[in-house]
Symmetry: C2
Subunit: 345 residues, 2 copies
């Protein structure tokens, strides 16, 4: 077995279940020996670690149901772009670049079942973003559930984020009018000037709800829900008859320890769904890989290669930055798809 | 023009917008002269008046959006089975039986556009129930949105009502396990013994939520939502991954003047939709007539004729009973489709 790698593995484990927004001390940086692959296994070196909002749900004591929560003391999970540094698996050779689930650590073992070869991808970290899970989430949620028609108005929040930016750009490709919602003037400018959205609104503006209404003079036909909170509240009364609301995330509420104070708006939501014949549908992207991931990769790959969909990465350097970067993500401080460069390739 | 009818028309107008549950004094019984049809009009004699929960929404100052509210002083609206007593319309002859929208009154004029000839139907009041709007509501909501598969569990509330009883029976025809929810032991027995539901639970039972869970050991795949309130609360945690929730009504909340006290359960609802990939979709049956009412009538007519779907009518005699009967409907006091026999035919 080649020894051209470190002997020490750094990793972040879950030290405590967060209450509300995670704090740095909820993560513990540990070192362990780099493991040795058994027969049928590969040893992976993490190059890029993806940080995504769903990870907050896996830090809770009770998981979200679609994936197991991280046990206390176990390494934080996460998608990675990894290099095979040693292989005792017939299908993978040392040196190969793969999409993996190595988690928040330098090295990991895999039996190969969850690995996807990335070939000689020019910018492999895109496999964690627009060409990977977040892009696929945008594609499935917008096209399969949202089903925007030309001329319809599509609203997407976190509009310069990993998912939102792709949602808006695909909606534009389909002929929709696209209104983004972001936090900050720089993101606003980027959404309109670089991504080509028709309008973009700052959710921190005191006049946010009025501005949203003004930007959607014909109402809202598709709202791609990935944040919840005040954005959802402003969108709800503007939804048109027959609107579709794919629900892919609800970040504003991930850190809530209990149901917020009243009044109870559940009846009002259901009454709105009824009166406006709205379809609201949650989806978890894990369900859809078998059925259409390859079709997505082909189409999105063409769009990205042709410059029709632009992908922006927010890259932090060093595994030790992961907790702070992740906490910032939950606060909307990232600008583009958040990835950690764990190792220079 | 034949004069074989009364000269005085009795009608109920909207006297006041109700606060909460309507009271008898929100309706005013008036008499007017029976009108005379102009060229192109028919004069209709009401035989049966349908009473339906949606009417509560039309009594509010601000309508529900899908139909105009009833102005103060105007006659209450409602579907009717009517006899043409005088016609100056080329397509309708005196003596013909029609489905109409004559409202809460003895006589009404129509220009024919909203009339549907009923021919020599054996029990014409069924055109207001299982063979009409409520049956169509059940058919569209269950089959187009709920899409039950054989072996799945379907839950329906108001399960002996005009819509619920048809939902449950169609679900049985499609091979689903059906659990009804009703108020009262007589209705429970009827749902199981007469309608063939697999189980039926009394929503007034203190152990209601536990009983629902016990009756749905494999969870709930389709919940046909027509009541809201405590029933919805008990159903929500039992919904399976991939469940469908057609929303056709929300009676428990129709009489609410304001949002109920907290906590605010809206975030919990949306989080549940997400985690369980649930589709929740409101529909208004008026949208669907053009597209598939004839197909429904054919199929449901066959089922009813063959005894595969049983229809139960709760008939009150006399227009003067309409307000009390309607108030009872909103409290769940009816047992079967509520119709008022306004005139002996």
């Amino acid at each position: 077995m080649p020894a051209d790698h470190d002997t020490v593995n750094r990793r972040y484990t879950l030290a405590a279940h967060p209450r509300g927004l995670p704090a740095p001390q909820d993560f513990r940086l540990e070192t362990t020996p780099v493991p040795t692959p058994a027969d049928g296994q590969v040893l992976l070196r993490t190059l890029y670690l993806s940080l995504d909002p769903y990870m907050r749900n896996l830090m809770a004591e009770v998981g979200p149901g679609y994936a197991d929560p991280v046990p206390l003391g176990a390494p934080m999970v996460g998608g990675t772009v990894s290099r095979v540094v040693a292989s005792r698996h017939p299908k993978f050779a040392a040196g190969e670049l793969v999409l993996a689930n190595a988690g928040w650590q330098d090295y990991a073992l895999s039996d190969g079942a969850d690995l996807l070869p990335l070939g000689d991808m020019a910018q492999p970290s895109l496999a964690l973003g627009g060409l990977g899970m977040p892009g696929f989430t945008a594609h499935v949620g917008l096209l399969d559930i949202g089903q925007p028609r030309p001329g319809e108005t599509v609203v997407v929040a976190a509009a310069t984020g990993a998912v939102g930016a792709v949602v808006g750009q695909i909606a534009k490709l389909k002929g929709a009018r696209v209104v983004g919602i972001v936090g900050g003037a720089d993101k606003r400018r980027y959404a309109v000037e670089e991504l080509g959205f028709d309008a973009c609104i700052d959710r921190r503006d005191p006049q946010f709800a009025q501005q949203l209404a003004a930007a959607c003079p014909a109402g809202i036909d598709v709202y791609f829900e990935n944040v919840g909170g005040a954005v959802f509240d402003a969108v709800l009364p503007r939804l048109n008859v027959g609107a579709r609301v794919p629900v892919c995330g609800f970040i504003a509420h991930y850190n809530e320890a209990a149901a917020p104070a009243g009044p109870d708006r559940l009846p009002q939501l259901v009454a709105t769904l009824l009166q406006k014949r709205i379809r609201m549908q949650g989806f978890i992207i894990l369900d859809h890989y078998g059925e259409r991931f390859e079709a997505f990769r082909r189409e999105m790959g063409e769009w990205v290669a042709a410059g029709r969909v632009k992908l922006r990465e927010d890259r932090v350097d060093g595994l030790e930055q992961a907790p702070e970067a992740f906490i910032g993500l939950l606060q909307g401080r990232n600008f583009g798809k958040l990835v950690v460069r764990v190792a220079q390739d």
